[in-house]
Amino acid sequence: MTISVGPVSDSIASWLSGRGLPLALSEIVAVLVVCVLPVIGIVFPIAGVAQYFERKIAASMQRRKGPMVGAAGIVDLAADMLFFWLPRWKRRVIARRVERLPLLGALLRQVRQWGLGSMAADGVKMFLKEDMVPGGADRLLFRGSTYLALTGAFLAFAVFPFSQWYHMGDPPVAALYLGAVTGLVAVSILEAGWSSNNKWSYFGGIRAVAMIVSYEIPIALAIATICMWSGTMSLQGIIAAQYHPGWFSFSGWNLFQSPLLTLLAGVYYIAALAECNRAPFDLSEGESELVGGFHTEYSGLRWGLFFIAEYSDMLLVGGIFATLFLGGFQSPIGEQWIVSLPPFAEAVVHTLIAVAKALASVGFMMWIRWTLPRFRIDQVMKLAWTKLVPLALFCLFGLALTQLVAAQRVGVVQVVYGRYLSAPVVRMDLFSWFASWVLVGGAIGVVVWMAKRAAPAQTPEMRRLLGKEAA
């Protein structure tokens, strides 16, 4: 019986056993390396520095500088290290002279503003804060909730497709597994809220559970629709179905196939925001109302683990969004060249692309967070049950119809993508594509126009406030 999670771990295991390690041990080590590497090498560092980037993005939107810890920058540090025998003031003079060089100096002066020391400062702060468990709190649950949150976030990475040749696992029911596993976060938040012995945390926990459970439905519907469209629940299969062997490989992506899929992408993204407790759905930690919500009583590294779980969740959800709608780890142009690379190179390039897409999605989430105000819990529920679920169902049925019609017109095709063969999928030809955009786009346009007509006109005071007319 071999212990393996795919070709990568096989190759590592054979290399290790070739070096003299017993086979079973080398297989176990290979599996551990393959499974732990994405988490330790990709997810943890991103979650760690995400706080810094979030603050810098927030600062630029709020027209301020943001974290400036360590803004002395690398020039001062380099001068200190290279000219260590000089007195401090002379080293600073050298540093300022270097910063006045034409191009290099401009770049270095810019880096000075980045305040990269705040990442280190954040980490040190989290480790050094007092680790308290509130009196009267349920000690086991209080401690366990952080671990459960992390578990929920990282379990899903087990099926995340980083590339063709490198992934931890590709079960044929990966999409189903994803939907199941992300629900653990809800349990962990409820656990945190309850065990803190704090009524405000309790409120945060209850709100979070209500919200996450409600938004599981649109997410599950979106995932189910994509599985229907791609003919398979395996994530690699879904990605394979989006392959287009021309130079403009993005035309195969699900986002552009049909307007219903674009709508579904929007539904999924909003529901994903709610799953991550991100603004405008951050009412479970709503700072203005609940102080800290479910994580009020957590300090230091325990809180740090919660926020790592949150950022990993964001990364995961962004990555799944990319997988389902943006072609996963495929590059937007010239994918056929990349997929023909040798395995190691292909793994590196594809992993970079996958992570880049996930990061772009995370950046968009941050952008949204600092722009929009927060919902109230009943508005959140209304949005989920009366707007997102019907919309997702509409997309589901619409896409089923589209598949039927297109299958009869154009027929189904099995796409060969690298080492994967997709399920029989429908490929929209130009006529179907135009027709679907015209039909559905027109219907949506009519609905929007009717809503605009029904909405009351803007009062002159509001127009004056918005600068549309002079005082």
Partner: protein, 394 residues
């Protein structure tokens, strides 16, 4: 977790340390899930006995304490106090003071600038309570420009101690008028950006529309004043209806609530009060510009304290023996009517100072208004009333 079972309700203590209560306010809230069944405010955490302290200070020494009655709009509080004392002195020919025209204009100019900066804080805090952190900082950065102007004139950025009985401590600094004009222009643009970002946002409007609508009768009966009163549709503004200073010489509109939120909104809800404050900022900009236009030029004397106490012998003499009697004088502060009921016994110390503030009376309607709201709506309500605790507790 220990839950005291009072039926199925949870008793929460919101505050005194709470991000949304804008100070040390404690609300004992009894909730049924998210819906509040009862709310009992518990104030007094910031009670500094300013009124009692005033009885031990001479009339002119009380001005810095009026700064701290509401530190967000210090100039307006100063204005109310010095106008009240000047009204008291004006009741007798020996003590009547002649305040220079320029001093009156600068008083109104600075009072309106402080109204703008106070509304920046109030509006910004409200959006922050609703979860939009960015507009708060945009509003505060505009307020910093106003603070810069105040700092150059009187040396302080928050509690100015700038007005004194009889005039002002100092004249405007050199170049103040151009600075103020430039700042007002930038402010207008910034307000348009602010409104496009948040005021017309659907989520924001949905949070505030129809929440805690106060009828006009309730507003008058429960002592709501200022933008809270006008948000309920009552057309009353002290600057226009009981003008003090030179307010009759200015042209400005008084914005009223009109169920601006549309179909979901009601007259006197949180969104109305919010929009009334936004419009008041625009009106204050108008008044500032008119004040700058109408102001008589400076006297040209270096560091001329414009009628200030330091050189106004008349004020010095008058405050040693003011007339016996009492005066109730009210001014339109950003938070509403700030009234000073002062009783003088003819000595140089006030006998009794009673400070009537808008936020204190706004608290009186909480017990009636809050049941039925959700916790998130309570936060919106506190923000829309623009409660500042120093005013409530004095």
């Amino acid at each position: 977790m220990n839950v005291e079972r009072e039926g199925d309700f949870i008793t929460l203590s919101m505050g005194p340390h709470h991000p949304a209560t804008h100070g040390v306010l404690r609300l004992e809230v009894t909730t049924d899930g998210e819906v509040i069944r009862a709310c009992k405010p518990d104030i007094g955490y910031l009670h500094r006995s300013i009124e009692k302290i005033g009885e031990f200070l001479e009339w002119y020494q009380f001005v810095p304490y009026t700064d701290r009655v509401d530190y967000v709009c210090s100039m307006n509080s100063n204005h109310a106090w010095v106008c009240a004392v000047e009204t008291l002195l004006a009741s007798s020919e020996e003590t009547k003071l002649a305040i220079p025209e320029r001093a009156e204009y600068i008083r109104i100019l600075f009072a309106e600038l402080n109204r703008i900066s106070s509304h920046m804080v109030g509006l910004g805090s409200m959006t922050m309570d609703m979860g939009a952190f960015t507009p708060f900082l945009h509003a505060l950065s505009q307020r910093e420009f106003i603070n810069d102007i105040f700092e150059k004139t009187c040396g302080a950025r928050l509690t100015y101690n700038y007005m004194c009985v009889g005039g002002l401590v100092r004249d405007l600094h050199a170049g103040a008028e151009d600075e103020i004009r430039a700042m007002l222009k930038g402010l207008e643009k910034a307000m348009i950006d602010f409104n496009r970002l948040i005021s017309s946002n659907n989520i924001f409007r949905a949070r505030l529309a129809g929440i805690a609508a106060v009828s006009a009768e309730d507003a008058v009966s429960y002592g709501l004043v200022g933008p809270n009163l006008r948000g309920s549709g009552v057309d009353f503004d002290l600057r226009r209806d009981k003008p003090y200073g030179f307010y009759e010489r200015f042209r400005f509109d008084v914005p009223l609530g009109k169920a601006y939120a549309g179909a979901d909104g009601r007259l006197g809800d949180c969104y109305d009060r919010y929009v009334v404050r936004l419009l008041e900022v625009l009106e204050s900009i108008r008044i500032c510009r008119q004040a700058l236009d109408q102001m008589p030029p400076a006297s040209g004397v270096e560091d001329d304290p414009v009628g200030g106490w330091c050189v106004a012998k008349a004020a010095q003499k008058a405050l040693r023996k003011p007339p016996v009697g009492e005066v109730y004088f009210r001014c339109e502060n950003p938070r509403g009517e700030t009234g000073y009921h002062i009783v003088s016994d003819g000595t140089k110390f006030p006998y009794r100072i009673k400070i009537r503030t808008g936020s204190f009376t706004a608290m009186s309607i909480f017990e009636k208004l809050v049941p039925g709201l959700m916790i998130a709506d309570l936060v919106a309500l506190i923000g829309s009333f623009d409660i500042v605790l120093p005013e409530v507790d004095r």
